[in-house]
Amino acid sequence: MKLTQTATQVHSPSSQLHQRWEAYVSDQYKLSALSLLAQLWLSHSLFLTDRVSTPSYLSMLLILAPASALYLWTLLLSRQVKKDTGILTALLPRMLGRGLEWLIALSLLTDAVFLLCGVSSLLGDILPTLRHYLIAPLIALFAASSLMRNQPFALIRLAGFLFFPLLAGITLSSASALQEGSAAHFFPLLGKGASSICMGTVWLCGNLGSICLPLLMPGEEAALRRMRQKGKRRGMLALLACMLFSALISAMYTYLLSPYALSDAASVGMRLLMPVQISSSIPGWSLYVCALILLLLIAYSGSVSRCAAFFSGHCTKEKHAPDWLIAIVILFTVPCAVFYSHRLQNLLIDLLPYRIIPYLISLLFTSAGAAFQWIKARKQA
């Protein structure tokens, strides 16, 4: 579906519908990828930069192996259980029913809180004249007025449209700071030691897993069922590419910052702004800040709309969450961000990776069920 394509498969209303679904799913993946990137950026600056120190990019690279293994395992499992759906979506709902949707909704709610805290802290740092308690409600107001009246469709389209420009903006503005970095920051190669790297990897596995797994949940199943195999692979590739991109960002952060440059007391905003604070590029600063605010705003709105959709059980394209539910989710996130403190930040950081546990348990149960089915089928054969 290139915009510059000169030939098309569209020769009937059904093929037209199919292409529209494909575009919708592609845009939805881009929204998810943007959310993922925003959370990685935040969690990286909050957790990895000072706790794991130098080799945080190694932690990032290390999680590619378990992520790929998990994906292959679920693919294998789903083929055993049901042939027409090649993803995890068919399996998990069967195990947990409606409870799974609530679990994902809660996970997305913590994402939304995390993102709102991050963006309001960033804005608090760059807008010292504005009262701190006004920032989070203002962001929530922008998100609410954008999402009300069935606008989640619009958010998905917008994410599809802004995906590459946003990535390009952030990359370019960050790259402008590269001349200020030093390769010496990569040494000692193992930073605070292998144990720190492993700790970082486990933390990232938990955090990323709990962000990625909901992407494969029932909301997308209805859409994916209408797509060709190609579409599924592309969706997963987008996630993989996003993780690689994050590894690059992580390496860039390490290249720019001395491992011990940040104190524990440094706010999220200070940490996020660090790459451009050390840069001498003037337009780079504006571009970076604007792109980052937009990225966090999109990610926050995405988390809110998906959270409300999962709470209401309307996680398909045809229906979106009612406005009142979106409003409730937003209203819940605002006080958390207004009363944001170091303690809440630490609590969130500690809480985020554990969200993967219910998914892993359900995956285990599903694996057992699939193995049982497979043995039964072999006996019958």
């Binding site: 000169t6 030939a7 807008l127 920032i135 389209r157 599809g160 800040v289 605010i293």
Partner: protein, 507 residues
Amino acid sequence: MADTQWQPQPGGSLTGTYQQKCSQLKQACHTDLSSDIKERTFTLLGGNATLLYVDGMADAAQVTKYILFPCQTAPAPREGCDLYDHLVCSVLPLGVVQRTYQTDSALSALFGGDALMVVDGVDGVMILDVKGYASRGISTPSDETVIVGPHEGFTETLRNNLTLLRRLMRSPALIAEPISVGSKIPKQLFLLYLHDIAPDESVQELKRRIHGCNVDYVFSMGALEQLLEDQPFALLPQAVYTERPDRACSFLLEGQVVILMENAPYAMAMPAGLPHLLHAPDDSAMRWQYGSFLRLLRMFGLILALLLPALYVALTTFHPQGLPVTLMTSILETQSKVPLTLFPSMLIMLFVFCLINEAGTRVPGALGSGLSIVGGLILGQAAITANLFSPLVIIVVALSGLGSYAAPSYSLTLSIRLAQFFLLILSGLFGFLGLIGGLFLLLMRTSALTSLGYPANAPLMPKRPANPDDMLRFPIWRQRLRGTLSNPYHMDRTRGKMRAWDHRRKP
């Protein structure tokens, strides 16, 4: 009471005697009060006949030459021949002669320039096409000027406009369906589309909406647009206007439906969205390199118009770290002499700019240049000399104004100006938070926009298979699709290579 008297009775029939029909028509059109409605009674083949026409709308010379003279010298009909058939076949040398039994259709024809003839012995009323009202000739479009391309524009005459389109598209596939809107005073429209290329859903939806317009009178195409659009509170228009027949043809070829209206010197195409508003008529007439360059320039201008004032205020007021020190020093130096702070200065200057622009539009042509000199040069210079405004503010406003003029559509220019104020106020209050939040809000509203149920900004948001003719204009021979608005069965413009003679490359 008077209101119900002049209003044609819907379904009122003209089936009585000759005298009854005459008095019914005369009463309905108030011949005793309206002096321009002419009534002429004469003898036709021994019986009576009455002719009614509106002076100025019908051509008096044609009335005499093709109706009165032939009727008064008509030969007697053959034995057994119906009088109506005899008049149509042997007496009246006119292209269009119709018969009606309905009062409203008779009155509609009368006030549309036709003549009505009531004949003793003929059922109903005869409608004779002798239109001959004064109209403006075809001239160069005033708002959509081009360097490359034809120079003919639509006029206020519906028939001329239809002819202009027919001349460009000499094909039976071009359907022109007459339809009227307005309950008290119906206004004639033509719904034009290409058979098989425009999706049936678009045509039917537009007809449904037009039939569903419950108004007494539609005074302009803009009023009709407001009655038909999907989201009346949206900032961006959901229909595109053109006063050029060649552009209307390009809309038809894309599968859009074009509406022509009586007394409207332009055509309106629906569904439409942002990509249509960004295109200028001569983009396609130029070579693709030039067309693409101009399109990029235009988009840069619009982004400048939208963001520059807000960005300037946000940076100087809230985020000075985003500006070079030398520039910031210069801004502070100039600003220190000005009594107002930057945000109200910018707001006032933008308002003044809009005022000069509006005054320049409304003022008679000869005074236009004088007003520009007074408004732009003298006022600007005086404001700087009197230290009322900083020169940088005037430069920013001038640049953003220049950018907004790059928009090919006047509706788009106005929506950019409104959005400019919205973003400026937000960024003046909350810095980058306001700017990005406002931009996010605008982008969300834009991406949710629909026109006749179609996503208005496709193929950009959401992505759809389309011609490579959106942000950039790729070569004509790569534009092989009609676009997302056309019938999916006929989406391909052509099969095989467009440059079939060229064996050197594979386009």
